[in-house]
């Protein structure tokens, strides 16, 4: 059964797209993060133009994170003050990223930009996660929370100006640090079609040293509103959001997520970080291969 996607301008198999959504939702359910960074490359693989893939990916995450964000809100597990400060940065970052795509669509290499963002971000994140779980395996659990006292980035963030109290989290944080963090997440959301959970969650734990009880809720809040803003900006500037595609993916991912949550309870947390790091690295390497392997055609005529 095929369905024509109005913005992607192509026909796709409905079950295939629901299945893709399901796979992505499943991983999201298991790991709590990692929906977006898998979705965009998969969409590009079935022939969706890269700009449509990233914009629609963000739109899908709006729906995927909505339920979690509202549940956290009703349980009072969100530091709204801190989240709002992050959002200032992500709005500016999202705007910058969307404009960058708009510019490169005209002068070329928009695919390259998206690919390179993936290779860098996934390579770094995957390597960091593998390293962290290796250290944990060698030195025993608990080292992560000890090093919580101050990695180099956390110490740098502590020295930045405009330190403010955030009573809900019980921490002090620099507004400059929050702006930069939010900005980076906003840019990545626009360029990669992700919510930025893989970056924001470790940053909240290790850099801002927020208590775990508010990290999950606040990251949901941040992811939801970042992708809301980015989806809107992509629709405004690049007209690359495919509503049909987003909703079909969402139908698959909500079901997949429920299955993932059930499976996730049975996996040991230690294994789970290694598996996630493995997936991240495989996708990163896959994107890198696309960059260095000679293309089939030496002319880019704008068609996908």
């Amino acid at each position: 059964m095929d369905i024509y996607l109005p913005i992607a301008g192509m026909s796709v198999n409905l079950l295939l797209v629901v299945g893709l959504g399901g796979v992505v939702g499943f991983l999201l359910g298991i790991f709590g993060i990692g929906g977006g960074f898998l979705l965009t490359p998969l969409l590009m693989m079935i022939g969706v133009p890269p700009t449509v893939a990233v914009a629609t990916g963000a739109n899908q995450i709006v729906g995927a994170s909505a339920s979690g964000a509202f549940a956290s809100l009703s349980e009072g597990k969100i530091d709204i003050r801190l989240g709002s400060h992050l959002l200032i940065g992500s709005t500016v970052g999202g705007f910058a990223g969307v404009e960058l795509i708009h510019l490169l669509k005209r002068i070329g290499n928009v695919d390259l930009l998206i690919n390179v963002s993936y290779v860098l971000m996934l390579g770094l994140t995957g390597a960091f996660m593998l390293f962290a779980s290796y250290r944990e395996a060698k030195e025993g659990p608990g080292t992560a929370s000890e090093s919580n006292g101050g990695g180099p980035i956390a110490r740098l963030a502590d020295r930045l100006p405009l330190q403010r109290e955030f009573p809900r989290s019980g921490i002090r944080a620099s507004l400059v640090a929050l702006f930069i963090l939010g900005f980076v997440v906003g840019v990545l959301s626009a360029l990669m079609g992700v919510g930025g959970g893989f970056l924001i969650v470790p940053a909240m734990i290790y850099m801002l040293r927020m208590p775990i009880s508010v990290v999950v809720g606040t990251s949901f809040f941040q992811i939801l509103f970042t992708t809301v803003i980015v989806t809107f900006l992509q629709a405004m500037t690049n007209r690359s959001v495919d509503i049909f595609l987003a909703l079909i993916l969402l139908a698959g991912s909500t079901v997949g997520a429920q299955l993932g949550i059930r499976v996730g309870r049975r996996i040991e947390p230690r294994h789970f970080k290694v598996i996630l790091a493995g997936i991240v690295l495989v996708v990163g390497v896959g994107m890198m291969v696309q960059l260095v392997v000679p293309p089939r055609f030496l002319l880019n005529d704008g068609a996908h």
Binding site: Y4, A66, A235, L250, F297, L298, L299
Partner: protein, 251 residues
């Protein structure tokens, strides 16, 4: 009753074609559809062309989208990474160019004639304009473009796909891929004898987005604020709703 009427009209139409074709030896080409709707179920479309050809002539049939200037990028290696390097413009080239003929086109018409009439790939190389220095020579760029479009199903040039019956009735079928752009597509039929076009016929098919597809595309292009809000709120609504449903199932 309706079916009888349709049958009569069909027979009448066909005999008219035959009589006209036999008497005046003129070329008549028809396609059963004037309009192709891109609906939610659209996944490409076969286009049938049939008609009557002058006796003992060969046929060339083309289906083309409206020509437009194309801005493309040449890819090159920078360090270890392949990227878009040089801008190339190709003047007045259709997105879709499908050509079928009863014999290979280069045996039927010389290149100059084909270029003048816009048949097949003739003369594309001459329309390649470099903005910078260019990496590949014109001919190579043209070949890359043709190979890429052929792989996408947008270009085709094939002989033998026109069936001619009794030396005068002919029939051929084109396939438009699913990712064609909307527009006015033109079907041209040429009857060729001794290296010259003796008759020529033309008809048009308009490819349009229809129904929900047209509505969504127009909204995205012309009312981007509304469309952006719709994208955000429909995803929000679906996310929250499914959350509630699963919570109920879970409980």
């Amino acid at each position: 009753m309706h079916r009888m009427k349709a049958l009569c009209v069909g027979i009448g139409f066909l005999s008219l074609l035959l009589v006209r074709g036999a008497r005046a030896q003129i070329l008549t080409a028809r396609t059963p559809m004037e309009k192709i709707d891109i609906t939610t179920r659209f996944h490409g479309q076969d286009v049938l062309v049939f008609g009557v050809a002058p006796r003992k002539s060969d046929l060339i049939v083309t289906l083309q989208s409206p020509p437009a200037d194309l801005s493309a990028m040449e890819k090159g290696r920078v360090g270890i990474v392949w990227m878009d390097v040089e801008k190339v413009r190709i003047k007045q080239i259709p997105q879709v160019s499908l050509t079928v003929s009863s014999k290979p086109v280069d045996l039927l018409l010389d290149e100059g004639t084909r270029e003048k009439l816009g048949i097949g790939y003739a003369g594309i190389a001459r329309r390649v304009l470099f903005e910078g220095n260019g990496l590949l020579p014109r001919e190579k760029i043209t070949r890359q473009l043709i190979q890429k479009r052929e792989a996408d199903g947008m270009f085709m040039q094939r002989s033998g796909d026109v069936k001619i019956y009794d030396q005068k009735l002919f029939q051929t079928t084109f396939h438009l891929p699913d990712d064609v752009s909307p527009g006015q597509y033109i079907i041209r039929t040429y009857a060729v004898r001794n290296g010259a076009v003796v008759e020529q016929a033309e008809s048009a098919i308009s490819v349009e987005k229809a129904g929900v597809e047209a509505w969504v595309s127009n909204l995205a292009l012309d009312h981007e604020v509304l469309y952006g809000l719709m994208a955000v709120f429909s995803a929000l609504g679906m996310g929250i709703l499914s959350g509630l449903v699963f919570r109920r199932i879970g409980a």
